[in-house]
């Protein structure tokens, strides 16, 4: 994959990442896994997981790992450039001309609506990922518990990721033995 195509993919990804970093996961997956088929779903998830385990802006971490895997140094460079360009330009325009735009009903309406769309594409992705383990009740319980702990107890997601994965690791080992 050419670095310039990666650049363009990440421009599109960052433009539609509204309401938090997780919204970008279904968008990147659609391009990299479903449309261009340059990565398998598992490989892609490994990238997402790796990007979460270290500090830094997660969208940037993801762009950097994906870019370097797919097209080396320049791949990483252009993926990161693409991922930061739209947010950079938008904020620049807002900071220059109108900080008050948040109060305009048109913008308020658009982003309120878009967040509903983001919920839908995230829910769809979650279902796709859960499909393979639907019959493994213990694992479903661990995932559900982890989800609730993050949302309602405000525990940092990195700890939940580690604890849940550890539990799943042992459940896996026990069942394969």
């Amino acid at each position: 994959m050419s670095p310039l195509r990666l650049f363009w993919i990440f421009v599109k990804v960052s433009t539609f990442t509204i309401g938090g970093g997780y919204a970008m996961i279904p968008v990147i997956k659609e391009f990299i896994v479903d449309k261009y088929r340059i990565m398998k779903e598992d490989e892609f998830l490994d990238v997402i997981v790796t990007a979460q385990t270290v500090p830094g802006v997660i969208a940037i971490n993801t762009a950097m790992i994906l870019g370097s895997r797919l097209a080396g140094f320049w791949g990483a460079f252009f993926a990161v450039l693409g991922a930061s360009l739209t947010p950079f330009i938008m904020i620049l325009v807002i900071a220059t001309f109108f900080t008050d735009f948040v109060d305009l009903p048109v913008f308020e309406g658009f982003f309120a609506g878009a967040r509903v769309g983001v919920t839908v594409i995230l829910a769809n992705l979650s279902l796709q990922l859960l499909r393979k383990s639907l019959k493994r009740y213990l694992i479903i319980i661990v995932i559900a518990a982890g989800t609730l702990v993050i949302v309602f107890l405000n525990v940092s997601s990195i700890w939940v990721l580690l604890v849940c994965s550890l539990l799943i690791y042992f459940i896996d080992r026990r069942s394969t033995r």
Binding site: K12, S14, T15, F16, T17, I18, G19, G20, P26, V27, E30, D42, L45, D46, V49, T50, A51, Q52, V54, P55, G56, V57, I60, V80, S84, T86, P87, F88, M90, I91, L92, A95, V102, P105, V106, E108, G109, F110, F111, A112, G113, A114, R115, V116, G117, V118, T119, V120, I121, L122, L129, V142, I143, G146, I150, S156, S157, V160, L162, Y169
Partner: protein, 177 residues
């Protein structure tokens, strides 16, 4: 001097931000409101709502915004580069560590568990955005029909986000909040 300070403050934010945007929020507030007094708490809250309504990671949005406010275009570029740069170090480090680890343990098995654990994080993001954005008859109808269209017609996720955004503009005209 102010440019160097901008770069350094946002470099620290990027270097220490763990667990993505909202985890980094207190770090950002500490650096730009408490330590450097670049903006007051009121303007910081405006910055957060701008970030939520525009594409892109919150750390990048605040870097661009504060950088521009303090030192114009130059400042916005330096602050943004500052917050992105630490990812180079962290990603390099984690990829090296993974390479070394793979000689000693079966990382494939560990990643199998992590791939399932990450579903809890994606689900929690889904729930958080969903609870906050799906809160009326209109939004429920939009969400259900968007999900149906995505599932049935395999429409691109980008069009789902864009389409629900346009619907949001319509509500804002017909349903004065």
């Amino acid at each position: 001097m102010i440019l160097l300070n901008l770069f350094w403050s946002f470099f620290k934010i990027g270097f220490l931000a763990f667990g993505g945007g909202y985890g980094a929020l207190s770090l950002i507030q500490d650096q730009i409101v408490n330590v450097n007094k670049w903006i007051g708490i009121e303007e910081f809250l405006t910055l957060i709502s701008i970030s939520q309504m525009t594409p892109g990671p919150i750390a990048i949005n605040s870097a661009t915004f504060i950088g521009y406010r303090i030192a114009g275009i130059q400042g916005s570029i330096l602050a943004t580069v500052g917050v992105v740069l630490p990812s180079v170090f962290w990603i390099f480090l984690i990829l090296k560590i993974l390479k070394i680890l793979s000689k000693w343990i079966d990382t494939a098995e560990v990643f199998n568990a992590l791939r399932l654990g990450i579903i809890a994080l994606i689900l929690s993001a889904t729930l958080r955005i969903g609870i906050e954005s799906i809160n009326s008859v209109f939004t429920i109808v939009t969400a259900v029909s968007a999900f149906y269209i995505l599932y049935k017609f395999k429409l691109s996720v980008i069009w789902i986000v864009f389409g629900t955004g346009i619907l949001g503009v319509f509500w804002s005209f017909f349903l004065p909040l």
